[in-house]
């Protein structure tokens, strides 16, 4: 019978300044040195991190009321439309929204120099943002138009709410077609000219708890440089496993998180607007999760290495856009990080599109917060569905009745 801990045990040790906290990189060394059983006795928490473009991100804003009052039925922030079909002076700004006059892909490949993600970066950096709004006017909200400047301090609330972040695993994208394509995973040259991947591998939060034994509603996290929470499962949360040709489990895939936090605590170092050539605007989000080492099994997964974690290789030239993606191969993150993989007999240079150094920094910051007693673990009110729940995606059928 190995060690067992509760959230209360761990939080008591954090408060006493006695908790042993290692990053997801450091714990690998610890387990190599001492074995899982002994390491599980010693380690209380393992911290993870990831820093990449997460398109399903956005912010709920409350601007405060003007005199006379206005309902604000349409809202623009630096000319980027925000959704205002909710209560007066509330709006939701999404990371991929573009200004109405943006040339988009009309001059292919488009540059997407400024979008919702950039507005969020401007807000979090404390810069003034132009707020323009129109309304139809009511007896209680007579004002019909508004053009002013706001910033993060001048508005009531700014709540980052990201419906789908922190993908557990992601495709390694290649292009088997015969023309260059510009995708959300970057520019891919034809004939398997290059391969892009986008998780932090052994530092990546959900790869380190594939059974979702510790992650649920109320899990306290590092979000954009501040403290945030897991609000729910992310959209398209279909956790499962990727398996090799012999059906042996390689590692987790398919899980996502919905996360929430106060933008006023966050920093533009950890929320950065992104312009993805030929694809669109987005927001690069820094996110880190603490994994409480409840028992040996939790540690065993938290200590998985880049050699043991795999990404599926998928063709974004033809198969993915057609909606028929299949996994061409599985490559380990260790291979991907070396800079070259072999796909269909061809040697292909690789590049990450999410930042491993920033992921490492996040895991380190979270570790420091916990060691200093500034960050206690949030015990989930309810765990997220794991692979056992059998969740799977539905295809959208096109029909007219």
């Amino acid at each position: 019978m190995g060690v067992e801990r509760t959230y209360q045990d761990i939080n008591a040790r954090i408060k006493a300044g006695k908790a042993v906290v290692l990053t997801a990189e450091e714990v690998i060394e610890k387990v190599r040195e001492k074995g899982v059983t002994q390491a599980a006795r010693e380690v209380d928490v393992v911290t993870t991190g990831t820093f990449g473009a997460m398109c399903s991100s956005g912010v709920f804003l409350n601007f405060g009321h003007t005199k006379p009052r206005m309902r604000m039925s349409k809202v623009w922030l630096n000319e980027v439309p925000a959704y205002a079909g909710i209560a007066a002076v509330d709006a939701f700004l999404g990371a991929t929204e573009l200004p109405e006059g943006d040339p988009k892909n009309n001059n292919y490949p488009g540059e997407f120099r400024y979008g919702g993600g950039h507005v969020i970066e401007d807000l979090v950096a404390g810069r003034d943002v132009r707020l323009r709004a129109v309304s139809y006017g009511t007896d209680c909200y007579p004002r019909k138009s508004l053009d002013t400047l706001i910033n993060l301090d001048s508005i009531n609330e700014a709540t980052l709410f990201n419906p789908r972040n922190c993908y557990q695993n992601y495709n390694c994208a290649v292009n088997a077609g015969d023309r260059t394509v510009h995708t959300y995973l970057g520019t891919l040259r034809p004939h398997l000219g290059n391969a892009h991947y986008s998780t932090s591998g052994q530092l990546s939060p959900l790869l380190k708890d594939p059974h979702f034994r510790t992650i649920g509603i109320g899990t306290r996290i590092f979000l954009g440089g501040g403290i945030g929470y897991v609000a729910w499962n992310g959209t398209q949360h279909f956790p499962g496993f990727i398996r090799d040709k012999n059906k042996e489990v390689l590692c987790g895939t398919g899980g996502t998180l919905s996360v929430v936090g106060d933008l006023k605590q966050m920093s533009s170092h950890w929320l950065v607007g992104a312009s993805i050539r030929g694809y669109g605007a987005s927001l690069t989000v820094g996110l880190g999760l603490p994994i409480p080492i409840l028992d040996e099994e939790v540690l065993e997964y938290a200590a998985k290495t880049d050699e043991e974690l795999y990404a599926p290789v998928v063709d974004y030239g033809i198969a993915y856009p057609e909606g028929n993606p299949e996994d061409i191969a599985y490559v380990s993150y260790a291979q991907l990080k070396k800079g070259e993989i072999t796909v269909m007999g061809k040697s292909v240079p690789t590049a990450p599109v999410s930042s491993y150094p920033r992921a490492r920094e996040i895991a380190g910051i979270l570790k420091t917060w916990i060691q200093k007693g500034e960050f206690l673990l949030g015990e989930p009110s309810q765990l997220l569905p794991g692979p056992g729940a059998g969740l799977a995606g539905k295809a959208l059928k096109i029909r007219d009745k």
Binding site: F51, G186, A195, S275, T284, P352
Partner: protein, 133 residues
């Protein structure tokens, strides 16, 4: 006469044309190839120093061939504050001036190897690669 420094950029379909030969033979120019990155399947870039009476005619010839010609007054610099070390640029840099230090996974930029192809400027999602005139 001081040599003129220029940057040529041409598409994959132009990479097989013997333009340097024509510059020397037809326009009597002295050519020093400072940097070059040419691959039959990709866009090519060349930095040249040209000297000669018929310099302007030589440039006109290059432009007729569909090659873009720019004076070498620009350099590409990395904004260290903005760079997040994601690495997306590295695989697109033709000379490996941008590369990943595999131990730290940080992106390094060796400016001496840069041929001003500007691919990184187009690729970088956070606009950390800047053109300095």
């Amino acid at each position: 006469m001081a040599p003129e420094k220029i940057v040529l950029r041409f598409g994959a379909e132009k990479a097989d044309k013997p333009v340097i030969y024509h510059l020397a033979k037809d326009y009597d120019l002295i050519i020093n190839i400072v940097k070059a990155s040419i691959n039959p399947h990709k866009e090519g870039t060349m930095v040249l120093e040209l000297t000669g009476e018929r310099y302007a005619e030589g440039i006109a010839y290059l432009r007729e061939q569909g090659i873009s010609v720019h004076p070498l007054t620009t350099e590409v610099v990395r904004n260290e504050e903005k760079c997040t070390h994601c690495g997306a640029c590295t695989v697109h840099c033709p000379t490996k001036a941008l590369f990943i230090d595999r131990s730290s996974m940080e992106v390094r930029f060796n400016e001496d190897e840069c041929v001003l192809c500007l691919m990184c400027v187009k690729i970088c999602p956070v606009k950390a690669m800047e053109v300095k005139v």
